[in-house]
Symmetry: D2
Subunit: 351 residues, 4 copies
C-alpha cells in the first residue's frame, strides 16, 4: 500500500510556518494537500499570498469553518497561540479520528500551572493538554508514534533541548548552571506587520529582547527538569539577528566531576549516532547557521572553554524547518508510519 | 530499466556552482556521484569545503588527473573560463563516449571570431566549439537531446534570453532598441577571495560594473541576433546587489507596430505555457527574485510603460540554479532521456 | 552676529526623515531645535522613539496644535502627503513670517492639473503651490534664497534630475529617449508597519514596483520638460533593494549628434565644478551607493555604451540625506543666508 | 591659541580603521592630516582606495619610510599586529617628541609573559611596552593625558571592559563567574581578502569562532584581574554577525551578596554619569547595536535574570569608532589637551 497518500489540511497557511509546510508537503510523495485555511486571506489563492507557489496547483485559502473534514487524515495547525487550543478542541471533538500536529505553543507545557503562569490565563482544553505529546522525535519517538495530538516544540527550545537533554540524562553536566545565549533569524517573529520587524529596524544591527522573560524558557524548564529529575532553571537570552532563518544557541555548561569536553562530545556523538537529522561535528568544530538553512538538520559542536570545568556546546537549526515545519513533517511521518526522512531530504541552501 | 543510475563526475566541486551541483545531484534519484575534483583542495573531503554536506557520503576531492573515467556517463565541468576548453578536449579525446555539460563560458559562443574578441585569445578547441550545443533547453531541446557537449549558458544571459528571444522571433518587438538593466546577487562572482567581494564591500549598498563591457553581452548578441536574423546590439548593464542569489533583469523594449503590452504578454504566455521551469505572471504583475531562490524557475512579468510603444519585461532566476547548476541538471536530464524535471522539483526557499 | 541661532521646529519627527533632520540639526552650529511634533507619539520623548538620541537634550514630542510658534524662524515639515498642504496653509496663515521647508510631495508640482492627475484630488492650497520653490539648490539657488516655502524634492527625483537636467539644457542629449532605471534602499518607504516592508520580505532579494506609475515620475516630467522647453516623458522604473539607504539611478540617454560620452561627461563636470555636494567622477568610473551613505553628496559617473549614440549616466545619493533631510538643511542654509555646507560636512559612513 | 592645528600622520590608512580615522579627522577642527601611509598601495590617492574621500584634498598614500616627520605632532598607527612594535620603536627613536596612538594589539598587554603566551613570540620593544598606557579614557584618563604612547584597546575588550570593570571595582559582582558572549560585525575582521569574509560566506547566517582562544581574551584577563586585585578568567566567545559595524556583548554576572540588578545598575549609572561617550540606559532596557553605529558611544543596559543572583549586562559599541578609531581620536584629544569630545560629536546613523 505504499502508494496511498495521506490527506492533509493546513490551518494557518498564510504565515511563514504555513508556507514552509506547503513547500515541504507539496513535494512529499505520500501526502496530498486537501485544505488550506487563512481566515483573513480566505478567498485568495496561495499564489497571491506566496507567489513562489504560483506554478503549483493548490486548494484555495478558506476559513477554518469552511473545511470539509471528511477523509482528512491529519491536520497541521499553524495558528496563533491562545486561540489554537479551542480550535483544536472543537475540531477533534467533531473528528475524533483526526491526527493533529500543532505548531503553536498551546499544548507544549504539560503542567497547567506552568501554562497559566507563562501565558496569563487558564488552559481551555486541559484533557488535550494532558494527551498531547511533546514532538521532539529524537527524544519521544515512541510516544509520537502513538499520538493523536503532537505539540511541535518551539524553535529556540528544539535547538537548546537537543544538545542539552542527553547531557543532563547522562549526568555529564551540572544542570544547576546552564546559560543559553540564543540568537534567532527574523522569520522566528512571523509575518505580522510590526514596526520593530521592518527591514530598516532589523538589518545591519542586533539586539537582545525578552531578557529573562521569553516564553520559550518554560519549555526549557520543563524538559531540562524532566531530564534532571529535579527543577532546573537555566539562563536564556534571545537575540534578534539580521538573517532570515536560523537559531544559533551558544550554551555554557559546567561539567560533572571527571568529565571534560571530550566526554561531553562523546555523550552527544553516541546519542545521535543513528539519527538522520542531528549531526554532531568533530570535537572543537563549531557549526554555522547557514549550513542548516532550508534543511531539517540540527548541527551540534562542542568546544572546551578556557575556564576549567566549563564546556561550550553550540547548536543550530533552521527555525522554520527543524524548528517548526520540518519537525512537524517529521512528526507526521512517524505518526503515519512513513519513513522518518520522507520529504525532508533537502540539503541546506548554501551559499 | 528505470532503476539504473547514471554515473556522474563533477569537475570543480569546490566552487559555488560545484556545490550547487552536489546539492541537486545528491538527491537526484537517477544519478550516482562517482567523482569530485578540486585541484587546489584535492585530498580534502567535500564536508571540509562545504560543511552542509557533512551528513552525506560523497567521494573525496581529487585532482582531475586522478579521476578514473571508467564507466563515467556524464561529467559536469565547473572550471574557470579559458582552461576549461583544454581540459574538455583532453578528456573527450580519451573518453569519446562521455557526455559533458560545461558550465564555463568556453563553448557558448559559436563564432570563433566573437570568442577571440571577447576573451582575448584564439579558441583552443575549435571543433568542439562547433559541436557544442547552447544549453537553454526551452529553446534548443532537440539539439540538447542529441548533444555530447552542452555549453550551459551564463546566468545573466539565461535570464535575459528567455523573455526576449520569443518576442524577437514573433516579431513583437523592435530588436534594434533593447535595454537590459540587470542586477545580480553576489554568488554570481564565485568563491574567490577578492577585496571587492568582501561582505563589508558589498552589503548595504550597490553599484554597476562592467558597464558596456561584460562578457555575457556576447551571448546576448549571439542569441538575439540569431532570433532576429540580423545583428542585434542590446544595451546591457550589470549591477551587484547585496543578496546571495538571484538575477533580476529589467528589460525595456519597443514594440512592433500594432503590438501593445498585452500582445507582448500573450506571446510569452503562449510560448511558455507547457514549460515546467518558466512561469509567466499575469499581465501587470512583476516578479520578485526571492520567489525563485533555490528553485530552477524563471519568473517573467510584463508591464506597460507610460512611454507609448515601450514595454517593460522583467525576468528573474536564481543564478546558481536556472542560471547555472539547475539548468545544467536540466540539460543532463534531457541528454540522458530522463524526465526533464527530475531532481529539480524544489520550490523556492522564501522567506 | 554669527552667534545667533535660528529657532527650528520639526513637524513629523517620529519618521525616518524627521529623525535624520534631528541627527543633522542637533549638531548644526547655527540652529536650535525648539519644537518636535509627532501626533501619534505625542507625550513621548524623542529617545523613546529613536534611542540613538538618548544622550541629547531635546524638546518632547508634542502634537502640531501644541506648538508655540512664537519666535520660531523656520519649520521643517516631514508629514505625510496630502495632509501637509492644509497644515502648512494653516500654519503660514497664522505665522506669515515663518519659513518652511516641506519634505512632502505636496508642493513639488507647479501645475495644479498635474497634481490632481497624480494625486487624485484637487490641491487645497493653490496659492502656496504657486509660491513654493522647488528645492534643488544646485538648480534653483537664487529662488531658494528668497523663498518662504521650499518644496524639498523626492529622493528618486533629486538623483535623476541632477545628472540629466544640465544635459538637456546643454542640448547634449535627445530628451525624447530617457530610461531611468532606479533602485532604492528601504528607508525610502518610511517607517510605517507594512507586511511588504518586513525584514523577511525585503532581505536577500529584490523587485521592481510601481512600474510606469510611481508618483515621483511627475517631478521628472516637470523638471525634464522645463529644461527641454517641451514635454518630455521618460521611462522610470523603481526597484526595492535590500539596503537601508541609497538611491542608485542608471540612466540610458541618447546623445545629440556630434556628442559622445566624453562630451556628456564634460557638460556635467563643468556644471558641477564648484558645487560642494555634487561630485562628478572621472569618465568611465561608476559610483557605488555606499560612497555617499550618510553624506549629503550626489556622486555621478558617465560611461559610454556599446550601442553607438547611447551613453549611460549613473547617479547616486543617500535618500535620507541629499534625497531628503540633508537637502532640506541645505535649503535652510540658503534661506537663512548661512554657509551652504554648514552642518552637512559629514563624510559617508563606509564601510 | 585655539586656532593651532596639530599635525597628524596616519600609518596604515588603507584599512578600515585607517579610513575611519580619516573620516573623523578630516572634519576635526584642531587637526591637519599631513601624512597617510599604506605600504602596498603607496602611490595611489586615498580616493582610489576609498572613493568616499574623492571630494576631499588629502595627502597621497606613501610608504612609512617616505614620511617626513618634521613637525608631526602625533601619529596614529593602524598597522598589523606584530610588525607594529618595530615600526613604533624605530619611529620614536628617531622622533622622541612624537606622540603615538597605536591601534594594534602590540602594546596592550603590560605583562611580557602574557604577550608571549598569546602572540607566540617575545615582545620586540619591551621598554615601550612598559611605557604604553592602555587607552580607555574613562578608566585611565590621567595616564592618557601624560602619555607619549597609548595602546588603543580592542573592540571586543572596550565593549566588555566598560560595563564590567566598575562592577568588579565596586565589589558588586563575583569576578570568578563572568560569561561574555560577544557578537561582532564584519568590519572587525579588516579588509583583507579572505574566503571566509566574502559576502556570500557571511550574509544571512552566523557562527562562533575562536572559541576559548580569541586573543582579545588576554586584555579582558588583564583588566578584569587588575580591577579585582586577583586573577580573573572569564569565558569569552566571539561570534560573527552579518552586520558591518557593531560589537554586542551579552554578559552574565553573578552578583555579590546583597546586590541585585538595581544595585548593579546604580553602580554603572553613577560611574558613567558625567561621561560623554558612555550612556547607561534605564534599568531593564537593553540597547541595540544600531543605536551607536557611526558614533563614539557605548550604550549599556542592565536586566535581571530569572536565575537568582544572576544579572545580565549588555554593552554595545561601534567597533570602528569607540572600538577603534573614535576611541583613538578621543585619546588624541586628551593627549593634546583638546576638549575630549572634539570631532566626535556625530550621532549614530540610524536607520
Amino acid at each position: 500500500m505504499t502508494e496511498t497518500k495521506a490527506r492533509i489540511a493546513i490551518l494557518g497557511a498564510s504565515g511563514y510556518t504555513g508556507a514552509e509546510l506547503v513547500r515541504l508537503l507539496a513535494r512529499h510523495p505520500r501526502v496530498s494537500i486537501v485544505a488550506l485555511t487563512a481566515d483573513r486571506k480566505a478567498g485568495q489563492s496561495m499564489a497571491e499570498v506566496f507567489p513562489q507557489f504560483a506554478p503549483l496547483t493548490l486548494p484555495p485559502l478558506v476559513t477554518i469553518d469552511e473545511v470539509d473534514w471528511t477523509g482528512v487524515d491529519l491536520a497541521f495547525c499553524a495558528l496563533p497561540h491562545g486561540t489554537t487550543q479551542q480550535v483544536i478542541k472543537r475540531t477533534l471533538d467533531a473528528n475524533p479520528q483526526l491526527k493533529i500536529v500543532d505548531l503553536s505553543a498551546d499544548f507544549r507545557l504539560r503542567d497547567p500551572g506552568a501554562y497559566e503562569e507563562w501565558y496569563g490565563h487558564a488552559h481551555q482544553a486541559l484533557e488535550l493538554q494532558q494527551e498531547a505529546v511533546y514532538g521532539i522525535v529524537e527524544l519521544y519517538r515512541e510516544d509520537v508514534r502513538k499520538a493523536r495530538l503532537v505539540a511541535n516544540p518551539g524553535c529556540y527550545t528544539t535547538t537548546a533541548i537537543l544538545p542539552v537533554v542527553p547531557l543532563i540524562e547522562a549526568g555529564a553536566i551540572d544542570p544547576s548552571v546552564i546559560v543559553v545565549d540564543a540568537k534567532s533569524g527574523v522569520t522566528g517573529a512571523g509575518r505580522s506587520a510590526k514596526e520593530s520587524l521592518l527591514y530598516t529596524e532589523v538589518t545591519d544591527g542586533m539586539h537582545a529582547y525578552g531578557v529573562g522573560s521569553h516564553r520559550h524558557t518554560a519549555e526549557l524548564d520543563q524538559e531540562y527538569s524532566k531530564a534532571a529529575g529535579r527543577s532546573v532553571v537555566p539562563s536564556f537570552t534571545p537575540h534578534l539577528i539580521p538573517m532570515s532563518r536560523g537559531i544559533y544557541a551558544t550554551i555554557y555548561v559546567n561539567t560533572a566531576p571527571g568529565v571534560d569536553a571530550a566526554g561531553v562530545h562523546r555523550v552527544l556523538a553516541d546519542f545521535y549516532a543513528s539519527e538522520a537529522f542531528v549531526h554532531v561535528l568533530p570535537l572543537g568544530q563549531v557549526p554555522q547557521s547557514r549550513f542548516v538553512k532550508g534543511s531539517n538538520m540540527c548541527f551540534i559542536g562542542v568546544a572546551k572553554d578556557r575556564v576549567p570545568g566549563r564546556v561550550i556546546v553550540i547548536s543550530t537549526t533552521d527555525n522554520l524547518v527543524k524548528g517548526a515545519s520540518g519537525q512537524a513533517v517529521q512528526n507526521m511521518n512517524v505518526m503515519l508510519s512513513y519513513p522518518e526522512t520522507l520529504g525532508l531530504e533537502q540539503i541546506a541552501l548554501f551559499p
